[in-house]
């Protein structure tokens, strides 16, 4: 097991390096360099750049050096000092902006992941055991629908229904009256009353996908000879299903984290503006529209790193669950 974890972590290093290079390329992509954009921005607002400031920024991002050196300066600042550069749109360090927004993004992503598991597990098992029953057809159709409806559409629909029929503003994470209030049981209740909205919206596609995979896997397992053998020995159906085939069919629950997490980050980027959430998604959208590239790049980098770490955790969990996986390494 340790050997397996070690190998997984070793593979991680080149992946992370490549991701950082891609992010740096993305930062460099917009036409014109950082300083020209910044000077133009300032000039548009009517004030000029102090010359000392220009020299300081050139020095800081090594802008007069070759691209390789610029990259090195950028990545070593991140790794050694946790310094992601400066957002010229907000005129604040990127790391400070991230510190404000990232906790909520991570908390929401993890809650959504748990929601996806809790909902899709019983439905997937039920759909497989009662294949072609009315319930199975119903859930299968709902699953297709969940994959077909863009999450921002669900968000708009929920907000509209809330506003139209319940006179309720479902956006945001807290009601206005609690926004600056100290923490109290009422505030926690208000938080929970708002929290389910983004969780359900973000989780729909992942839940639908997970149900499909679990159902298909469990159906494959249920037809295998060991199931027949267990039945022949007179094992009660329920105990048998839970101890053998369900355990094997559980694998996708861990292996799909690799694609559910990017989906959640994408959902954040697209729906949070509608839902008025203070997460990293709207921050990235605004940064991209303003070509505030150090901020956008930092969010892209962190999202990718979070996904890679999530995949690592899921691989380790998979190795723990399924000995066949850890023996392959």
């Amino acid at each position: 097991m340790l050997r397996y974890i070690g190998r997984r972590i070793l593979i991680l290093i080149p992946t992370l390096a490549a991701i950082s290079v891609i992010t740096f390329v993305v930062i460099q992509l917009p036409p014109g360099d950082y300083l020209t954009t910044l000077t133009a921005q300032r000039a548009a607002q009517g004030d000029s750049m102090p010359t000392g400031e220009l020299a300081r920024l050139t020095e800081r991002y090594a802008l007069d050096e070759p691209v390789i050196v610029q990259y090195w300066q950028w990545i070593s600042n991140i790794l050694l000092h946790g310094d992601f550069g400066e957002s010229f749109d907000y005129a604040r360090p990127v790391s400070a902006l991230l510190a404000e927004r990232l906790p909520l993004t991570i908390a929401l992503s993890v809650s959504t992941l748990i929601f996806i598991w809790v909902v899709s597990f019983p439905i997937g098992v039920y759909s497989a055991i009662r294949q072609y029953s009315l319930g199975d057809y119903g859930f299968t159709f709902l699953g297709y629908l969940g994959l077909a409806v863009p999450n921002f559409l669900i968000a708009l629909l929920l907000m509209w229904i809330g506003l139209q029929f319940f006179d309720l503003n479902a956006g945001g994470i807290l009601s206005p009256e609690y926004r600056d209030a100290p923490w109290s049981p009422a505030k926690v209740g208000d938080l929970l009353a708002h929290l389910w909205v983004p969780i359900v919206i973000w989780g729909t596609a992942g839940t639908a996908g997970n149900i499909r995979v679990l159902r298909a896997n469990l159906l494959d397992e249920l037809r295998k000879p060991y199931v027949v053998a267990a039945r022949a020995r007179g094992m009660p159906e329920r105990t048998m299903t839970i101890t053998y085939p369900v355990r094997v069919a559980m694998n996708p629950f861990f292996s799909t984290i690799g694609w559910i997490l990017p989906g959640l980050i994408a959902a954040d980027a697209i729906t949070s503006k509608v839902l008025n959430l203070q997460t990293t998604g709207p921050l990235m959208l605004r940064a991209l529209l303003a070509q505030d590239m150090y901020l956008a790049g930092a969010i892209l980098l962190i999202s990718a790193v979070l996904v890679v770490i999530g995949t690592l955790v899921s691989d380790i969990a998979l190795g723990w669950l399924d000995p066949r996986v850890r023996l392959r390494y």
């Binding site: 992946t15 629908l145 708009l156 629909l157 990017p262 892209l300």
Partner: protein, 362 residues
């Protein structure tokens, strides 16, 4: 029942078709998909208008009900303005005393069918082009007809799926094929690259790449930039599939026979091996088109994809971004229904195709 001799001599495609036909839902969804593509091709004729004509008298006019009686045939009631006695707010109401006759093959705004046939007839619309307008699905914030805009948007939304997938197809087959045929170090390298691309969340990456497209680019250039950006990230899934298939058939006897015959590597790969799983590739392509459509919709929705005056479903939904706009004019969400129906139909169709893709399975 089909005779056994027929099955024995049937070609692979015939067997696929027989398998697919058994899948009722997939068959129906196949026809729906076909119908949507026909709408995309003949959109200017099918839509009552160009969807670009603004009318400040009909801002957020609600949908009209299409009605029928024996005297006038099909008609709609024109709008009349009603003022709330307390709030003084103006709202639209149907003027029950008047009728706007609606006919088929009526004269309307001129257009070019298929891009080169100039015409001005529309499948249906108000019979008098100079009279009161018709808004079967309501009007948007500047009084443009939403129905015309949705039909016109079909062209861009559907074609972006095809074009985007085509580029991924080329990349996926070449890189997946090389990876699967040669194996060894080449394979490891390509697989690593795929893993790295897959580990970056696609939507943020698309957003970042597309944000770099200069604002001065024309609509058409933006359109192609969007397809390139989408397929640069989206080829990985197909490449993996192709690689797996190449691995699976690499040891088959007919490949050995071709090698013994002295066929070149490229010929073996693309003339002998590839046809054995073409049906699989088509099936997985048909499943990736809806995801490209969803990607375009999402990107245009947040304002980083296509932009007006180009019309796509995502561009239309961008106007519904604001919850206040949605509550005044809920019909602005209707383009979303078009997206959902299309994606649902294509997913069912693709699933049926995938199940039928390998006729020799059983």
């Amino acid at each position: 029942m089909r005779k056994e001799q027929d099955v024995d001599v049937a070609s692979q495609w015939k067997l696929v078709w027989w398998g697919f036909k058994r899948h009722r839902v997939a068959l129906v969804c196949g026809f729906v998909t076909l119908a949507i593509y026909l709408v995309a091709v003949f959109a200017p004729f099918l839509a009552p208008g160009s969807g670009q004509k603004t009318n400040s008298d009909y801002i957020y006019a609600p949908p009209q009900a299409l009605q029928f009686d024996l005297d006038t045939g099909l008609y709609v009631h024109p709008y009349t303005l009603k003022q709330d006695p307390e709030t003084l707010a103006l709202s639209f109401a149907a003027d029950e005393t008047k009728k706007v006759p609606v006919g088929f093959f009526v004269k309307g705004e001129p257009y070019e069918l298929l891009g080169f046939i100039p015409w001005d007839r529309h499948l249906f619309g108000p019979e008098n082009p100079g009279g009161p307008p018709m808004y079967l699905l309501g009007a948007d914030s500047v009084g443009r007809d939403l129905l015309s805009r949705i039909i016109r948007g079909t062209t861009v939304s559907m074609s972006i799926g095809l074009v985007g997938v085509l580029l991924s197809l080329v990349l996926g087959i070449v890189l997946g094929g090389v990876s699967g045929y040669f194996g060894g170090r080449t394979d490891t390298l390509i697989q690593r690259v795929i893993e790295i691309i897959m580990s970056i969340p696609t939507i943020p990456l698309w957003m970042a790449l597309f944000a770099a497209v200069p604002a001065s680019w024309s609509q058409l250039e933006r359109y192609f930039a969007l397809t390139v950006v989408i397929s640069l990230v989206g080829w990985t899934g197909l490449a993996r599939e192709v690689r797996g298939k190449f691995f699976a058939v690499r040891g088959e006897e007919y490949v050995m026979a071709a090698t013994a015959d002295g066929a070149g590597r490229l010929r073996i790969m693309f003339r002998h091996m590839l046809p054995s799983f073409t049906s699989h590739i088509i099936a997985s392509l048909s499943l990736s088109i809806p995801s490209v459509i969803l990607a375009e919709t999402a990107l245009s929705f947040i304002g980083l994809g296509l932009q007006t005056p180009m019309i796509s479903w995502g561009v239309l939904l961008q106007e519904a971004q604001n919850i206040r706009a949605v509550s005044t004019a809920p019909w602005m969400l209707i383009p979303g229904i078009a997206v959902v129906i299309t994606v649902l139909a294509m997913n069912f169709f693709g699933d049926g195709l995938r199940d039928a893709a390998d006729p020799y399975k059983h």
